[in-house]
């Protein structure tokens, strides 16, 4: 059995830079690929470790398939992108960067709505007052459903899929409230939105994950790398 370890790292942006820094600090300095357009890299100090650069959401999917041994990506992408993620991947470490909260935000002018329970009351007679369901703009439909339906027993709403500039959806008349990520809250404030008191669905950050099937200790090299990264 080959002892090769494949670790996936986000292919661009701050997540990539931070992840490479962490690899470096862990004694696994990643050699920059000779051709900047390739998506594979090696680790000189550990020849059996292979680094795959993938998009952050693709890493979630590959973890689900078990086709990589380890992956660094945002927890929000794993919880949203991978059905039944609790049983399919193990979170080995929180890496302390890429912080973003997935939150429920409503217009600031909704002074009568502070909590999910308040929002539930608004949703309950929304149809009666406005002849349609309460609309939630989000790209996180799985997390939204879990938070609204399973955690807070709110059923009467519709999800409007929004793939960008979600915080603008209420003013554009596309949705009434949003579920989106925020790190400082400044974009929400600029759009006159506020986070509900119990509206934080997930405090996400970059994490080291492994597929459930892969993390059975059968690959000591993977365990060693994970430990070096803080697992």
């Amino acid at each position: 059995m080959s002892a090769t370890v494949t670790i996936a790292i986000p292919s661009k942006g701050r997540l990539k830079e931070e992840a490479l820094k962490r690899m470096d600090a862990a004694g696994y300095a990643v050699e920059p690929p000779r051709d900047a357009r390739t998506y594979r890299a090696a680790v000189a100090s550990h020849p059996h470790v292979e680094v795959a650069f993938l998009s952050a959401s693709e890493i979630a999917r590959e973890l689900g398939k078990g086709s990589i041994d380890l992956g660094v990506t945002g927890e929000d992408l794993v919880r949203e992108g991978l059905p039944d993620s609790e049983n399919r991947v193990i979170r080995l470490a929180q890496l302390g960067f890429g912080h973003a909260d997935v939150v429920v935000a409503v217009p600031e002018a909704w002074f009568d709505v502070d909590t999910m329970a308040d929002l539930g009351l608004v949703a309950a007679d929304f149809r009666h007052r406005h002849e349609r369901r309460l609309r939630i703009a989000t790209k996180y439909w799985r997390l939204t459903q879990q938070h609204f339906s399973q955690t807070h027993g709110i059923q009467l709403y519709r999800i409007i899929e929004s793939l960008g500039a979600t915080e603008g959806a209420p003013a554009a008349g596309q949705a009434d409230v949003i579920v989106d990520i925020t790190s400082t809250g400044s974009t929400l404030r600029a759009n006159h939105l506020k986070v509900l008191k119990d509206g934080v669905i997930l405090r996400s950050q970059a994490c080291l994950f492994a597929p459930v099937s892969g993390d059975d200790g059968s690959n000591p090299a993977a365990a060693e790398l994970a430990a070096a990264l803080g697992a």
Partner: protein, 372 residues
Amino acid sequence: MNALRSFSARADIETILAGLGAERLDVPVLHPADPFLDTAGEELRRRIFMSESETGEALCLRPEFTIPVCLNHLGAGTDGHRRYGYVGTVFRQRRAGGNEFLQAGIEDIGDADGPSADARSLADALSFLDALDAAEGTVTTLGDQAVFNAVVTGLGLPQGWALRLSHAFGDRATLDAALDALAVPPPLPDLPADIREPAEAHDRAALVNALSMRLRIAGLENAGGRDADDIADRLLARFDAAEIAPDAGALATLRKFLDIHASLDKAADALRAFASGNSLDMDDAIAGFAAREAAISAAGVDTAKVTYDAAFGRALDYYTALVYEIATPAGLVLVGGGRYDRLLTMLGAKETVPGVGFSVWLDRIGSSGGKP
């Protein structure tokens, strides 16, 4: 493979439906998903099979028959009273086990005589099981959201809470959580002075003005959805609720109501005793309940063998009054039925169209040992 799935068994089911006087209706298997998600809520999305047309329309495999039958009724521009019978496969996502289920049932749409339509629906459901030799030993449970709403109204709970309780009815855990929350006075929100002052003074006009200003600043003035009146009403209601001490007695009474179980022939008396014992005016709801009980009895159903459970309902806001369930002694539900007077307007009817219907889970009958 269940024996009821054979062609000859389906023919038998069609014969039973025809014998009950229902007009045969076929509806498509693939269906726009919006009517289902709009009426049942987004939670359904996890439990149905979604697909998409080339033009981006969200489609799903039908998860049930009631909504397609109602849409068909509306689409045909049919006026007046029709009774539709159907048999076919429905599709539901489950983590384990199969995803296809054979259902048959009757939807009775547009009958202005509610009690008699309710009674016929329940009697038909029992006859249907009987024809399949599966009625023996079954347990029939009946609930009524209209009676629950009458209790909530009679107790004089704040309007927002009445609504929340009414939506939670049928889901005991949600309902208990709502009752627990109601026992704790809601803390008032932190408000800026321009909003707090008119709210405290109960100056609605000034509050609406201040809220309109805020909505304008946020660019939400013409965005549709909630407006200043809407927010003002609920905010004022919150100030009222904060001033009204939660009435522990009213909540205890409501819990006492939810514990009522009686055989249907004695249920109206039990409700009358409950109403007078707690000084509640719910005469209209009880009269409606009693009229239906009389109609059920007249339709040949032994009402001593039907159980009224005050807490039994469906947490879907288009079920308005009667709901019933017929289960095996082990608790396997063979038939679900109920009245959905709000559904057809949700689906686009211009005025209220009454409807009541039931669905039989045919696969469960095969597996529970009935004669297929």
